[in-house]
């Protein structure tokens, strides 16, 4: 008994089952030598011409490229580069019809040749000396070589096989009718093919390299044998002509008797198959340094005057190819890419030749009959006899028609090589292969769906688990030892935190802090180039987190919450400061300093007033507050309506931009919003009864207020230091005030978003609309705030005390904005007295509120300047009466100073605190 090796050495061949003998039609095109084509007008180079991923574009529209220049950079994932097939200019990079039965557009480079055909610099070699496998594989990879037999599998991947290869099988079979590209290539370039084989052999070191050539190509066989004479490891074999002996699995069977397992690849049985065209390309790449930019294409068929093989540059359109060889279309002309058995009819001839295109067939209707009508299967089983994979085509057909995909897989549909032998022999003209193709695509899609569904399920479940966990955490927080009143608030805050967390998959406060840090950063250096300080931000966030934790611990043991507030205030201040910096960079407009000063004063007064209020807040008449809130809302509404009207008439009816008015209006709105927010809880019923107002309006007003608060905060930071020494006051107060302001701002934001519930009682309004309105209003408020800021410097000159006051006011406002964050969470239940909250939570909430206001402001600036001005004017006129009632200038000033001092202290404390934490 001979071993397999001996059998192979002795030239024994095996047989694969099935197979057919269609008319060969090869003499049409193998009579003439391989011709060359005139340069086409343009070349279309799809980025992806093989199996795998495409590379990254390296060139741009308008670039001039040289022949052989690399156009895409290969990445991982079986990606290959493409190269310029000739020198010329890249005129376009766009999706173009691809060489696929669907002709679906694919991103392609359109290259217009300059006619010079100038090569780029090529690295030629005489031998493989000094090149290790990796270097060789690299050369093959960067030459963009993909299997040229049909499938287009990247050659470098095959060459890089981890498995030991016993036999390198070279496919020169070319079993499909009409095609003679490999035949002619072997006749003319046998030496180069053998050289390419030797390159592959040096990489893979197989025992033998077997060349299979069908016995209908004696010239090619002789040429190859001649060229391979010197190498005893290369065995050239002439195999019987039978379709589809050129199939990878069939050829392996014929030459080595091995069978590739179902679902496996040839490497599983120690075999690697390469097409002769591929090997020629490898030889060109390694020895000549030429990338894969052209290939032999058989242009044949009865409608072609000069059927022959040609060297076609990749990217040449099929149209150019056939017309260059002389083409007279017949009625219902079909042009087929590939052979008559496995090729596909092109939907258009404006499709480029790609790396896998071996034949363009333009038959007339006699030589290749149009498929007739499908008849019923007569169970003749001719298909089963013809099947080279010993499948049961008839059975598969039933299942495919019945869409029984499980059965299809059971019957090994995926072992079908789609050779078309079954369809060819079918007396009923059933397009069996078509059925299999559809079924395969369907099964693949279903599998993909299944995977996707599985993933979706996983994600859904993960989300559910997360939500549950958060719920639990929240409840645990409830259960914690009740620390008097704030415990309840805490729960609400945590609820808010939950919400915040839900927004992000990451749930830690650190994350929130990072977010905040980022937001800050964005504010801080919008104009400057962005340095990458995310690491720093992260650091800071972490530090803050630590500080917060420390704070919490401390608060746990110590009922005094003053330091907490201080920290909160400090954070708020820090933010405001950043904002102020950003604001500074905004170029100031020409303003009337006096007016501005007045406006600032008013604003300050209000801020102060409201800053003081929170302390007495619990005693305040809820009804009053409600009324005030209603008024504020009414105004906000008016303001909202105004822009709508004005947007029609344009901005001409608006008076010249008066920043002062804007500032005043802003201040008033702020005060009102504050009040409204404050009175909100106890007053809800009252409001509903007294004035069936829309919460939407309130939201708008609140939004305005928030924006203003922010503005004020900016101002405050600038004047801070001088004030800090004045009077020792209670930092807690400041913190409280701050918290209130924040709460309000947040509240507004919340309302705007959640208008649904309140509205359902009051008015069946569209919540979306309300939200939009709120956003606009917010934007406007912001705008107004900005304008006010421009006026600031002049103020300082005119009234020496002003800056201080402003600072105070700002501090309060800032504080309030922050507080808002806290309160917002509690909105649904009655407001518990304003107790210092966990600064972290407040900060998170504040960050959210800030983000929204800013966003809105941006939009507004771009689109709605006239509206903003208009609106603020409205506010001024309607509010002027209310503004003065509450404040006496004396009060104002005192309070302002006090507030400033408080702030200063809070800051100091916060710093100390932070210092402690760090240490």
């Amino acid at each position: 008994m001979e071993t397999l090796l001996e059998q192979i050495e002795s030239g024994k061949l095996w047989q694969f089952p099935g197979g057919i003998h269609p008319p060969e039609q090869k003499s049409l095109s193998n009579q003439a030598a391989i011709g060359s084509l005139p340069l086409p007008e343009y070349l279309v180079l799809p980025l992806k011409q093989h199996i795998g991923a495409n590379g990254q574009l390296l060139v741009n529209k308008g670039d001039h490229v040289l022949k052989g220049q690399v156009l895409t950079q290969p990445g991982t994932n079986w990606s290959l580069p493409i190269h310029a097939p000739t020198s010329g200019t890249i005129t376009d990079i766009k999706p173009m019809p691809s060489a696929h039965p669907s002709a679906m557009p694919e991103l392609s480079i359109v290259l217009t040749p300059d006619g010079d055909d100038t090569w780029c610099e090529l690295e030629t070699r005489e031998s493989l000396d000094g090149l290790d496998n990796k270097a060789l594989i690299d050369i093959i990879h960067h030459a963009g070589i993909a299997g040229m037999g049909g499938a287009g599998f990247p050659t470098y991947v095959k060459a890089d096989s981890a498995k030991t290869i016993e036999y390198l099988v070279v496919n020169g079979v070319e079993c499909e009718p009409y095609i003679t590209a490999d035949d002619m290539l072997m006749r003319e370039h046998a030496k180069d093919i053998i050289r390419g084989m030797e390159v592959m052999m040096s990489i893979l070191s197989p025992q033998y390299a077997l060349v299979g050539i069908e016995d209908n190509k004696p010239e090619a066989f002789a040429a190859m044998q001649q060229a391979a004479k010197h190498n005893s490891k290369i065995l050239v074999r002439s195999i019987p002509t039978k379709y589809p002996s050129g199939g990878e699995k069939q050829l392996i069977k014929v030459l080595t008797s091995k069978e590739v397992p179902s679902g496996g690849i040839p490497a599983d049985v120690g075999v690697l198959v390469q097409n002769v065209g591929t090997l020629f390309a490898v030889s060109e790449a390694v020895y000549e340094g030429k990338p894969l930019i052209e290939r032999v294409v058989t242009v044949t068929g009865n409608t072609i005057h000069k059927p022959q093989n040609v060297w076609a540059l990749l990217g040449t359109e099929v149209k150019h190819l056939i017309y260059s060889q002389g083409f007279t279309p017949v009625e219902d002309q079909r042009v087929i890419m590939g052979g008559p058995m496995m090729g596909f009819t092109l939907p258009t001839v404006r499709i480029p030749v790609v790396k896998t295109t071996n034949c363009i067939l333009a038959p007339d209707n006699q030589e290749l009959a149009v498929a007739g009508q499908e008849q019923a299967c007569i169970r003749c089983s001719a298909c089963a006899d013809a099947c080279p994979q010993t499948l049961l085509p008839q059975q598969l057909q039933w299942f495919a028609k019945g869409q029984e995909y499980d059965k299809l897989e059971e019957y090994n549909l995926f072992d079908c090589i789609e050779c078309g032998a079954c369809s060819y022999v079918c007396p009923s003209e059933i397009p069996l292969v078509q059925y299999y193709r559809v079924a395969k695509a369907e099964i693949r899609e279903q599998k993909l769906e299944k995977v996707k569904a599985e993933r979706a399920k996983e994600r859904f479940e993960a989300r559910k688990a997360r939500l549950e966990r958060e719920q639990e955490e929240r409840q645990n927080r409830h259960k914690r030892p009740a620390r008097s009143a704030p415990a309840k608030d805490k729960a609400k805050v945590s609820e808010a935190l939950e919400r915040v967390k839900q927004k992000r998959p990451e749930q830690s406060a650190v994350q929130a802090a990072i977010e905040r840090a980022k937001a800050k950063k964005a504010e801080g250096d919008t104009s400057a180039l962005e340095p990458d300080n995310s690491a720093v931000a992260l650091e800071r966030a972490k530090r803050k987190e630590q500080a917060r934790k420390y704070k919490e611990e401390k608060a746990g043991s110590n009922t005094s919450s003053a330091p907490k507030d201080a920290v909160a205030a400090a954070i708020a201040r820090a933010k405001a400061k950043k904002a102020a910096q950003a604001a500074d960079s905004i170029e100031s407009q020409e303003q009337d300093p006096r007016k501005a000063a007045v406006a600032a004063a008013i604003a300050r007064a209000k801020a102060k007033k409201s800053g003081d209020e929170p302390k007495q807040g619990s005693e305040d008449d809820p009804r009053k507050a409600a009324v005030a809130a209603a008024i504020a809302r009414a105004k906000a509404k008016k303001a909202e309506q105004a822009p709508e009207q004005n947007s029609v008439s344009g901005s001409d009816d608006v008076k010249a931009d008066d920043p002062r008015k804007a500032a005043v209006a802003a201040a008033i709105a702020r005060a009102k919003a504050k009040k409204a927010a404050k009175g909100d809880k106890p007053a809800t019923e009252a409001v509903v009864k007294d004035e069936p107002e829309d919460p939407r309006k309130a939201a708008v007003a609140a939004a305005i207020a928030r924006a203003k608060a922010k503005k004020a905060a900016k101002e405050a930071e600038q004047v801070e230091e001088p004030i800090s020494e004045d009077e020792p006051e209670d930092p807690r107060k400041a913190a409280v005030a701050a918290a209130i302001a924040r709460a309000k701002a947040k509240k507004a934001a919340k309302e705007a978003e959640q208008v649904e519930e309140p509205i359902s009682e009051n008015e069946p309004e569209d919540p979306r609309k309300a939200a939009v309105a709120a956003a606009i209003a917010r934007a406007k408020a912001k705008k107004a705030a900005k304008e006010a800021e421009h006026v600031e410097e002049p103020v300082a000159e005119n009234e020496p005390e002003d800056p201080r006051k402003a600072a105070v006011a700002a501090a309060i406002a800032r504080a309030k904005a922050k507080k808002a964050a806290k309160e917002a969470e509690q909105v649904k239940e009655p407001i518990v007295e304003n107790e210092p909250e966990d600064p972290r939570k407040a900060a998170v909430a504040a960050a959210i509120a800030r983000a929204k206001a800013k966003k809105a402001a941006k939009e507004a600036e771009q689109k709605e300047k006239p509206i903003v001005d208009d609106k603020t004017e409205e506010d001024v006129s309607s509010d002027s009466d209310t503004q003065t009632e509450a404040l006496s200038p004396e009060d104002k000033r005192k309070a302002a100073i006090r507030a400033a001092v408080e702030r200063a202290k809070a800051k100091k404390k916060a710093q100390e605190q932070e210092g402690n934490d760090l240490s």
Partner: protein, 184 residues
Amino acid sequence: MTLLYALIAIGALALVFGLILGYAAIKYRVESNPIVDQVDAILPQTQCGQCGYPGCRPYAEAIANGDEVNKCPPGGEATVKKLADLMGVEAKPLAGGEEAEPIKKVAYIREDECIGCTKCIQACPVDAIVGATRQMHTVIADECTGCDLCVEPCPVDCIDMIPVAETKQSWKWQIDAIPVKQLD
């Protein structure tokens, strides 16, 4: 006496076989897939809630408890058919009168219109939307199940459901691409 022997013999046999059967029942117990899991595996896992249940699994549980099998529009007729087969009931057309073959869609956020409100993020059952407050959001198209749930909460209506584009990979051969004429 004979009767007694017979009774004892039969009783002993019954005991022995009973023990054998009991042992086999425990030892060779087949872990059968509970019906809920089987139903859940058929459902498309879009978690869209169009069936009226908060997710696919709850609906699977409901089906196992006797609910109708035709409430899953994203699954289309194919799913209804499979469910009907599994549950041994008659396949009905989809309850909402939807098309039999649902078009696969994914959500798309028009990013320049997004105001960064995070509402869609909260609505997404599979966490397929990324973004942060004030930052624009975007949909991870590969993870989107096309459930529609994010469209409603968006305050500025910047989310579209767009059909998944056909690619070369998802393209299917058309059997009847060439119209066949019957000659008389």
